[in-house]
């Protein structure tokens, strides 16, 4: 089925574009520590609000233009004529643990320590926006995946069991779902976040938020899956499996899951953006990721100073653009997937 999907996506230009964008985004996220020249916490107060540095070619080697601060209060920098620093590739930089395990210090590009390379400018404390975007992507892009895994698993189990067994099980499950859907989620989040804050480290807060989000989110999925399970239950191949004595557990996983898979995939793709946006919104409200951690939502929140607008510090709004691109791409990909899956489903149903 996965193979079939890839084949069908590769037929559609829109699908190929989406897959490419997402592929690049996720590869960048996975190798963010290697790709980022600095640590996200690496400050340089002398270079606050530094604009993106120019890259020049000198003797066929890329060099970084050196800047001079003209007016510290207005964050104005002027390039120093003729002064450049060479960029060295695969040089050792700040130490890190690749994927939290392998100790390393090789980074894709570096400049000598006396100067700084700001591909996408720096923020108010002179931290590299490019590096922070990459590190932030680890949070912002994985949150959707982890969230959706929890949501879909819970949704499938509860919805599938309710639809398959019906009767009292169904009744109990659906009342629970209605209860969860009725809970005002934003208030619950704020309350839980407040109550749990003192028990968790800031880094762990990330996981807590995902779990809270998906514990609220599964109910909607469960209700839809239950409806589909109810109709699957009447299909004769499920009856045939029962007649041959197949266990309920296996019927759920061998007969229901593969037939719901295409729906689950489309639903997952379409709801990942919701998680990305939710994380951004929470971080923006100060309820999500906290300093010194980083995420796109948090970066966006830090960009909401008046200064950013009056001094045209446009690079600080790039996390917003990153969220925008990711969300749009996931939505379009979800639509492409639905187009692929739907006619097939109709054919199967005859």
């Amino acid at each position: 089925m996965i193979k079939h999907l890839f084949k069908e996506i590769s037929r559609r230009p829109l699908g190929v574009v989406c897959l490419t964008i997402l592929g690049i985004l996720y590869i960048c996220t996975i190798f963010s520590q290697f790709l980022a020249p600095y640590l996200p916490t690496d400050q340089d107060l002398n270079n606050a609000y530094h604009p993106p540095t120019r890259i020049l070619m000198v003797d066929w080697r890329p060099h970084v233009q050196v800047y001079e601060q003209v007016d510290p209060s207005a964050a104005r920098y002027e390039p120093v004529e003729g002064a450049t620093v060479p960029v060295s590739f695969f040089a050792s930089g700040a130490e890190y643990r690749l994927w939290g395990v392998i100790p390393a210090d090789i980074r894709l590009f570096q400049v000598e320590e006396t100067h700084r390379l700001y591909l996408l400018g720096s923020d108010g404390t002179g931290r590299d926006v490019f590096s922070r975007l990459l590190y932030g992507a680890q949070v912002s892009l994985s949150i959707g995946f982890i969230g959706i895994c929890i949501t879909m698993t819970l949704g499938f189990i509860v919805g599938g069991v309710a639809g398959y067994f019906g009767g009292r099980v169904d009744f109990a499950a659906m009342r629970m779902v209605e209860f969860i859907i009725a809970v005002p989620s934003l208030y619950l989040l704020i309350a839980l976040r407040g109550a749990l804050a003192e028990y968790f480290e800031p880094e762990q807060m990330y996981l807590v938020i995902v779990i809270i989000l998906s514990l609220i989110g599964w109910a909607g999925a469960a209700r839809i899956i239950r409806g589909m399970a109810l109709s699957l239950r009447q299909r004769h191949f499920v009856l045939a499996a029962e007649v041959m004595g197949q266990s309920s557990f296996k019927i759920l996983f061998k007969h229901f899951l593969p037939n719901l898979a295409s729906y689950l995939l489309v639903a997952a793709t379409l709801s990942i953006p919701a998680y990305i946006l939710a994380e951004a919104a929470l971080s923006f409200l100060g309820l999500g990721i906290q300093e010194p951690g980083t995420s796109w939502g948090l970066m966006l929140q830090q960009a909401q100073e008046l200064k950013v607008f009056t001094l045209n510090l446009w690079w600080l709004l790039l996390p917003g653009a990153a969220i925008f691109v990711t969300v749009i791409t996931f939505n379009v990909l979800g639509d492409v997937l639905r187009d692929i899956v739907d006619p097939r489903q109709q054919m199967v149903k005859r």
Partner: protein, 300 residues
């Protein structure tokens, strides 16, 4: 029919309760047991009732009951084919499903080889799942579209023959395909790659996989083209001869039922209104409903 098949009998064990199940006095045909003395029928159904509750109102209280199957009794003897004919909504499918416990009967007894199976627990009924199998009506609906033929046929094998390894299972699946007249090379194909008749053959192969004794054929040909119907009917008859199977053949078309069955039960509105040998049903139908069914069969 070959001599192998025993004559079917429908016995009146308790004639009082039985005749009350008949629709009226004009249907009082007495069927005479022609089975050898002392041989128990394979299946005995006695006073079977299935009532479905009708819910209504705000609290979904039970408002009343639909009498889907209302006091039905019949027997099926080993090696025979009993036809169950009636219109949609007559309760014939419900009876079939009761026998394999897809539906729990409200009252009555179902005895398989003398054992009361109606009251068995899920676990103790499990061995009967190997003996009683079912073939479904809609060949487009009865095969999981996401499973290959090998997986479809392998599923019952893995349940009832857990000692088989993958190769043995594949060999058996290929053998089953050959048995139902399909190419064993098609094991890796998926249901949508087959025509309706071929799918029904796969459905039959799946039922045969566990080496059953008794197969309930629930409208196995009514969704098929007339030309394909004939091939499936012939296949079912060949398999019966070869494997000594017993069939309960459920259909709405009396012509097909009359062709394949030794004994025919005519059902209307949850009750068996007439039962007789296939020949008697055709030659001298008693109940007006049977006559109506006979008249509906197209003639050339």
């Amino acid at each position: 029919m070959s001599a192998f098949h025993l004559k079917v009998l429908i016995m009146h064990n308790t004639s009082n309760s039985y005749s009350s199940a008949m629709a009226g006095p004009e249907t009082g045909r007495i069927s005479i047991s022609s089975s050898p003395e002392g041989i128990k029928p394979l299946l005995e159904v006695k006073n079977l009732k299935v009532y479905f509750p009708v819910h209504g109102g705000l609290l979904r209280r039970i408002r009343g009951y639909v009498h889907a199957v209302d006091d039905v009794s019949f027997n099926v003897s080993s090696g025979s084919t009993v036809g169950l004919v009636g219109e949609s909504g007559s309760g014939k499918t419900t009876i079939g499903r009761c026998l394999v416990r897809l539906i729990r009967p409200t009252a009555g007894s179902i005895r398989y080889l003398g054992v009361e199976t109606g009251s068995l627990s899920k676990k103790t009924f499990f061995p009967y799942r190997k003996k009683i199998q079912m073939i479904f009506q809609d060949p487009f609906n009865s095969l999981n579209p996401r499973m290959s033929v090998e997986q479809i046929l392998g599923e019952p094998l893995s349940i009832h023959f857990p000692q088989m390894n993958i190769e043995q299972r594949r060999d058996r699946a290929a053998g089953l395909l050959r048995q139902v007249g399909l190419d064993p090379d098609h094991l890796r194909r998926y249901p949508h790659q087959f025509s309706g008749g071929q799918r029904q053959r796969i459905g039959i192969a799946r039922a045969l996989a566990v080496e059953p004794e008794f197969i309930i054929c629930d409208e196995p040909v009514s969704a098929l083209d007339v030309s394909v119907q004939a091939t499936i009917i012939n296949l079912l008859q060949d398999l019966q001869e070869e494997l000594g199977l017993t069939y309960l053949f459920i259909a709405h078309d009396l012509a097909i039922v009359e062709h394949i069955s030794n004994y025919v039960l005519v059902m209307n509105q949850g009750k068996i209104v007439e039962q007789a040998s296939a020949e008697d049903i055709y030659r001298s139908p008693q109940h007006p409903y049977t006559i109506k069914l006979l008249e509906a069969v197209p003639r050339l």
